[in-house]
Symmetry: C2
Subunit: 246 residues, 2 copies
DNA sequence: CATAACCGTCAGAACGTTCGGTCGGCAAGT
DNA sequence: ACTTGCCGACCGAACGTTCTGACGGTTATG
């Protein structure tokens, strides 16, 4: 039943299709592979899935690439390289912590957008294999850098002291990293627009600026919240406009 | 049919182990399964992995559960139920949008923490199967609700108008959802502490409150930023302490 | 109070399928 | 003639799932 010797003229169509398309190299193949990984998850993507998307056979993939894991490794390396280049650039400056932190956030958003597929993959790694474990460790060391910057800025009195620095750092970059879950370059949402939005929200908060109400709704400028300012704004905020309710 | 009375000593060890342990039911099995899913990813977890962790065989799992996917479905349902119960509760009130939004954020953090394993799984779904696609749709409809609340609060003049509402909403819940990536109940980090931290950061920003500097470092209270307030705080903030730079 | 019927729980051994990966060879450009 | 890009056939292992049946405990009956 089995044991079909060898040879065969093969179908000329298949060859033709391969010839007509621009042949793959490692780079173009990687691009597609990572896109599929991000759609279906790394574990959820089989080499056959990849081959189908590439329009070539599984074995053809192995002509360009050593293993499935190598594809992942290349992606993770590019993501990590982007992040650590960023911290190196910022570390070379001598601004105060708060400004370095802001630069880190802005730069973080830029790296995330510029290398979206790579960073997306990095953010989803769970540490199953040795490679993933390594990537996870590097990522953690990046997070530590952020946390220490936050701590320093807090010591400088430049960011609110009523939240734990580690917690702040995680939430801050949690917000940044969430970009990977929804940002698509095709949304014609400018990179700079996102950078500004993140920076504003993170540093100034989403509530209408107290110092200078913009447009309508005037506010008694600069009112001092009753010290425990965040407990609950449901009472005593004295805010007009509350009656609007839809 | 199966009239095989007593006979066969078989292996006493294996049986004994099963008998000595409190037997599994769907609930206890689900708990372990979801923990493993969250460690290794759903696709990265085989039924054999599960059986190893449970201390029973693969076939024994199928005595309690119809399929691997059913385990996922149960988890996703619990996560979604938590989120939509929350929006139902909030929808029943008639507070202004900004306060409902804050309640949604606080409640979102609480749901996420209370049902951490379930929500974590939900947040990692990529829409491969029909089930995942359904979960993804439901999640999207939740996000839409958030976005509309943000839009309304912005129309009320209660949150900053210089950021697109959809963008704001995504970033806001991006921050909330990032909890799933690092929060562990064992960190003895109180739930309420996290809720407050998220709320403060999201609504007031992480910069030291302008209206009322706490502790040291005085700030010229209530200075009016030059209208385009967020462009870059590197210049002109007039902040002292900048000299500290480590 | 014994015992037989029945139940939930699980092991063991398979099922067919799909996995990541290998191999020999063909076609075309240089 | 050699390299580059690829195909089709194939492998052993692992996958999710199913089947048969053994075991301990409960319950109903005599």
């Amino acid at each position: 039943m089995r044991a079909r010797p060898r040879a065969k003229p093969a179908s000329p169509d298949a060859r033709g299709a391969a010839a007509r398309r621009r042949p793959y190299d490692v780079e173009s193949l990687l691009e597609v592979a990572i896109a599929v990984f991000n759609e279906q998850g790394y574990d959820g993507t089989s080499m056959e899935d990849l081959s189908r998307r590439l329009g070539i056979t599984k074995s053809a993939i192995y002509h360009h690439v050593e293993s499935k894991e190598q594809l992942l490794r290349m992606a993770l390396d590019r993501a990590l390289e982007g992040l650590f280049t960023l911290v190196a650039d910022i570390g070379a400056t001598d601004q105060p912590a708060i400004e370095r932190l802001e630069a880190l956030v802005r730069g973080g958003v830029e790296v995330l957008i510029d290398r979206l597929p790579y960073v997306t993959l990095l953010l989803r790694v769970r540490g199953n294999t040795a490679l993933e474990h390594y990537a996870l460790e590097r990522r953690r060391s990046f997070d530590t850098i952020v946390a220490e910057l936050v701590k320093q800025a807090e010591a400088d009195g430049d960011i609110r002291p009523d939240v734990d620095p580690g917690l702040t750092a995680r939430l801050l970059f949690g917000m940044v990293n969430s970009l990977a879950d929804w940002y698509r370059p095709s949304d014609h949402l400018e990179r700079s627009e996102v950078v500004d939005a993140v920076t504003r929200l993170a540093f100034e908060g989403l509530r209408t600026p107290r110092g200078q109400p913009m447009g309508s709704a005037q506010v008694p400028g600069c009112i001092a919240q009753p010290s425990g300012l965040g407990e609950s704004s449901l009472l005593g905020s004295g805010r007009a406009g509350a009656a609007r309710g839809k």
